[in-house]
């Protein structure tokens, strides 16, 4: 076996200062390129010999990838290279979308949050990615560019397998857009881990909910799950079941059971399939209850 966790193979390094330069480099190197934002997944995977990019493209100096933008419609766009701590320390983001702290403050620990970005967490495409379920539940979209142009991809459509996305080798994730927050809406992300920090989600659940004007009925519920399938899972069809329904133990249980049934977990060292399915129900129920409380306060 290799000594593991040890030495990196030879790499070349570039730190482009413009998006055009970065896209051109990426186009040149294609699959041999490794995109470096915080490096908290990239460098770990390189050390473990799971990937071996020859050309590292450091995207931290590119303005477009480091901007936070709230447009007149109150859509929030977060640059893909912004580290987690700058998300939860940003008053504009926290005023608009305080729930983003649920995930941004639990990705790794304090030091990891100094580097790790939502963009990296998304493009790493781990089924356990903590930032993803909440963003999916909020209807986030990915703004992607290459030398050939740009496109927008719904976040739930980005993933094609463990560690795999539908991005072309020359495409770069520029930013993530979260559509404007509806009135009477709330969201929450929780995960289950054996420790209290520094752990990979055994199961994670992101829930966003919009209530009827009397706050007694569901208008819309979106649920997304981490670590219970080859990709993050968007639980389809919940609105059809509960939209317009009164909020009570039973309707909440309908949602949490749909999440459980949508899960397709495997057994590994982080949890058995049976335990994960069980947790899907528990966590979805708990996250939904919190999201409802937040919506009522909104």
């Amino acid at each position: 076996m290799k000594p593991g966790g040890a030495e990196l193979k030879w790499i070349d390094y570039s730190s482009p200062e413009t998006l055009a330069e970065a896209l051109s480099l990426l186009n040149e190197h294609q699959k041999d390129a490794g995109i470096l934002a915080g490096g908290t997944d990239l460098i770990v995977k390189m050390r473990a010999d799971r990937i071996n990019p020859g050309q590292i493209i450091d995207i931290k100096s590119i303005p477009e990838l480091n901007q936070v933008n709230i447009n007149s419609n109150n859509d929030l766009t977060i640059g893909s290279a912004i580290p987690c701590y700058k998300i939860y320390n940003n008053d504009d983001i926290m005023n608009l979308r305080p729930e983003l702290k649920d995930s941004a403050s639990i990705i790794g620990g304090t030091q990891i949050q100094g580097r790790a970005s939502f963009g990296g967490n998304i493009c790493n495409a781990a089924p356990s990615a903590d930032s993803v379920p909440l963003l999916i539940s909020l209807g986030a979209t990915c703004n992607v560019q290459s030398v050939n142009g740009e496109r927008t991809i719904a976040l739930e459509d980005l993933f094609s397998g463990p560690g795999q996305t539908v991005l072309e080798p020359n495409e770069l994730l520029i930013s993530i857009t979260i559509p404007k927050k509806s009135d009477l809406s709330g969201a929450n992300y929780i995960r289950f881990i054996p420790r209290n920090e520094m752990d990979i989600a055994v199961v994670g659940t992101g829930v966003s909910v919009t209530l009827s004007s009397n706050k007694k009925n569901f208008e819309s519920v979106r649920v997304s799950l981490a670590s219970v399938g080859p990709t993050p899972i968007f639980v389809d069809g919940i609105d059809k079941e509960v939209s317009g329904q009164e909020i009570n133990d039973e309707s909440i249980r309908v949602v949490s059971n749909m999440a459980k049934n949508a899960s397709k977990p495997i057994s590994d060292m982080r949890g058995t399939a049976e335990f994960r399915q069980h947790l899907c129900e528990v966590l979805t129920r708990r996250a939904l209850i919190t999201a409802i409380e937040r919506a009522k306060e909104a």
């Binding site: 290799k2 000594p3 593991g4 966790g5 030495e7 289950f192 054996p194 209290n196 520094m198 949890g271």
Partner: protein, 766 residues
């Protein structure tokens, strides 16, 4: 409760440790920090399979890589491996070890015995090049069926060491087997006694492999000089045992090897064996340069000795009053790839806290295709206590007795004979149990749902062994204390304080140095809770020697008989002539032959000072839906004999407790069916973080040990023994479901509740 003399000036105080400033400013040099001119960097090729036969090791491609300076395999060892030698550890146990086993654990010769076993090593001009070279070495092998637990080991036809003879109750029995040893201890007539028990509880329990988890990976630098002298710089728990084992493995006299101990970033038993030192030495001889080897975290997990997985059956019979009348234990421990699990120690400790007249203990040391186990803080005792202390809790429950009360009426005392032979001198078991029973924590109410409290008692026998110290008096009245015990947690200071007390000095008047093996007498490991006890004792004797030499000197100055000189409160004075007085500092300044005191002790193997008892009180809260355990409150009680430096005694208690909590809840090696560890990172191994714990309360009990000048008992280990059992008993009291396997992770707790206590979930309306 017994108390000790209270009028010490230094002992019992809390000075700033001598090495403290270096360690908070980044100046202290640990093993990986060491550098020397002309240094090469090495890497190790390791076995990719758990069991197989080496067919060929082809290094030719690797040799051609620019920057590669040497490649070694087991063929580079000097002389035959087919002999038995007496290691430093063996010396205390009257054993010998096959040299081939020691060598094969640092460089495999004929077979591959575990994933991660070293096969070859490279020295190159950079670690990056060395790693590239490793990937160019071609290893051909034939795969054999791996043996991965004791059940497989005892039943499998796959034999790991063809020549192994089982040591059956002390006698070697030939036969193809993976059973290295069967030990048995018997007291009274347990079979008959069980017939008379009012109640018998018998349970089977298992534990998984866990690692010591020190934060500093192993590292060693070696230089093999042209004159044959070998110098090794490393972090080790014992420079002398490391020297001796390195010399044994290399096939050179110990006088040819010097080990220079650097600062050590944790060990907990895991830095007693040598792994890299002989390999670095071989690479140095082959390359003509000093060579440094540093392990990665993955290598630390997969290739160094953890403490083993176990399978245990414990049976206890009690009469109506709760008195234990018979006990039986069956202990199967994984040895790893070579003989030597801690099952013997486990068998000493399994019922050590109790006075039980009829006992039968069987222990089995089983070879498996995993890394050779190493000592881990009270080796073997923690697993054994998990079994015994959960069974005792069940006995207490069935008899409707208080868990502390049943332990108290069965407590071991001075004069109690243990099944393995020893009769206790003064011990503090009863005092520890009483302290728990009377504590505010134990008597505080529990009001919340899903909260439970558990207690448990643990024992570690401690060792004495050999230590040497010298003390040189300086003209300004300070002393230089030279010692051979590597300092892992403040022992420079706890040793210095014992010398300071004798000489009426302040701790800061003592300048302690931990030196290399050429510069002090043989000193055994920093392990077995022996350092403050035995090296402290040597320092005490060296200080007495200094005092006596100073008395002779001042008697000469005053022209009186030395018998007439007294020393008190830092002043020498004549018993007869009150005019004749001289302070320590004044006398130190007088010219004359330099005063050098020596202390040299040999304090026996196990049972030094009667060992130390410790107990834990633990409150947990369980989330019944997720099985997650939150430790709400934890108290550790331990008999320190006499706490020399209370802050460090508390620190040992807190650290041991938290390691025990980690072991209880999450820590384990996840292994595939082909013997590969899948969680060899600090992310997935899940040691406790600061956020997983409450403050850890400590209560130091002081029942002085017989013999030691200050009554010290080593406190490094007994504190880890009871926590897993205390947590298990707390989880039972919170959920009503007994856990029989460590770790008690969320999935198993959830399953227990779903299977046995669905009423809890129903009452939560979920």
């Amino acid at each position: 409760m017994a108390t000790v003399k209270k009028d010490y000036k230094v002992i019992g105080s809390r000075p700033v440790r001598h090495d403290g400033v270096d360690k908070v400013t980044g100046k202290a040099i640990y093993s990986a920090d060491f550098s020397i001119s002309d240094l090469l960097h090495g890497k190790v090729l390791r076995s990719p399979i758990a069991h197989g036969i080496i067919k060929k090791i082809d290094t030719s491609k690797a040799e051609k890589l620019p920057g590669v300076r040497a490649i070694v395999t087991s063929k580079d060892f000097i002389g035959s491996s087919d002999k038995n030698i007496e290691t430093a550890e063996d010396r205390n146990e009257g054993e010998t070890t096959r040299l081939k086993y020691l060598r094969d654990n640092v460089l495999a010769s004929d077979k591959l015995l575990y994933i991660g076993q070293p096969v070859a090593a490279v020295a190159a001009t950079s670690s990056h090049i060395a790693e590239e070279a490793i990937s160019l070495i071609e290893l051909e092998y034939e795969t054999l069926e791996p043996v991965l637990n004791t059940t497989q080991g005892l039943s499998s036809k796959s034999i790991i060491h063809q020549e192994l003879e089982t040591k059956e109750l002390g006698t070697k029995v030939p036969g193809k087997t993976n059973l290295a040893e069967h030990i048995q201890h018997k007291l009274g007539d347990p079979e008959e006694a069980f017939k008379h028990a009012e109640i018998i509880v018998e349970r089977e329990l298992t534990t998984e492999t866990v690692h010591q988890g020190y934060i500093e990976p192993h590292a060693a630098t070696a230089s093999w000089s042209k004159d044959g002298r070998i110098t090794v710089w490393c972090s080790t728990q014992g420079a002398f045992p490391a020297r001796d084992t390195t010399a044994d493995i290399l096939g050179v006299p110990i006088s040819q090897v010097k080990v220079v101990p650097l600062e050590i970033g944790g060990g907990f038993g895991g830095k007693i064996p040598v792994y890299l030192e002989p390999v670095a030495a071989l690479l140095s001889r082959a390359s003509g340069h000093p060579v440094k080897l540093v392990m990665s975290r993955k290598e630390v997990f997969e290739c160094t000795g953890p403490t083993p997985g176990t399978l245990m059956r414990v049976k206890i019979g009690a009469d109506k009053s709760g008195k234990f009348i018979a006990a039986q234990a069956h202990l199967e421990f994984e040895a790893g790839a070579f003989p030597g699990s801690p099952v013997a120690a486990g068998s000493y400790c399994v019922f050590a806290a109790y006075d039980i007249p009829n006992v039968l203990i069987d222990g089995y040391d089983v070879i498996v295709n995993k890394a050779k186990t190493a000592a881990y803080r009270a080796p073997g005792a923690t697993m054994a206590a998990f079994a015994t202390e959960t069974v005792i809790d069940e006995v207490a429950e069935k008899l409707q007795m208080d868990p502390a009360e049943i332990r108290l009426i069965n407590t071991a005392k001075k004069g109690t004979r243990r099944a393995d032979g020893p009769v206790y001198p003064t011990i503090g078991c009863e005092e520890v149990i009483k302290t728990i029973k009377d504590s505010e924590h134990y008597n505080s109410p529990i009001t919340e749902p899903h909260v439970g409290r558990g207690i448990a008692i643990g024992y570690w026998f401690n060792v004495g062994l050999e230590s040497a110290c010298t003390i040189s008096l300086s003209k300004n009245g300070t002393i230089n204390l030279v010692e051979g015990s590597t300092d892992i947690g403040g022992t420079r200071t706890s040793i210095a304080m014992q010398a300071a007390e004798v000489l009426g000095l302040l701790p800061e008047d003592v300048i302690p140095s931990v030196v290399d093996t050429d510069s002090i007498g043989f000193t055994s490991v920093t392990g077995g809770s022996r350092t403050t006890y035995a090296t402290g004792w040597a320092a005490y004797e060296a200080a007495i020697d200094v005092k006596n030499q100073m008395i002779s000197k001042v008697a000469g100055i005053w022209s009186i008989d030395a018998d007439n000189v007294e020393f008190e409160d830092g002043v020498f004075f004549s018993k007869q002539d009150t005019e004749l007085k001289m302070t320590f500092k004044e006398l130190a300044a007088k010219s004359g032959a330099p005063i050098v005191g020596r202390g040299s002790v040999s304090k026996g193997g196990m049972g030094a000072g009667g060992g130390s008892f410790a107990g834990a009180i633990c409150d947990v809260k369980i989330d019944p839906e997720t099985g997650k355990t939150t430790v709400l409150r934890f108290t550790c009680v331990q008999d320190a004999g006499k706490a020399i430096y209370p802050s460090f005694v508390e620190g040992q208690m807190q650290g041991g407790s938290v390691q025990g909590i980690g072991w209880a809840l999450n820590e384990e090696y996840f292994m595939t069916d082909d013997g590969r560890m899948t969680n060899s990172s600090l992310l997935d191994y899940r040691m406790p973080t600061s956020l997983d714990l409450p403050m850890i309360d400590t209560i130091i009990v002081e029942v002085p040990s017989d013999g030691h000048p200050y009554g010290v008992r080593g406190v490094g280990e007994a504190n880890i023994v009871s926590p897993p059992a205390a947590v298990a008993n707390a989880i039972y009291n919170a959920t009503g479901v007994r856990q029989s396997s460590l770790p008690m992770n969320p999935a198993s707790i959830t399953k227990g509740i779903q299977d046995h206590r669905s009423d809890i979930l129903n009452s939560m309306n979920c």
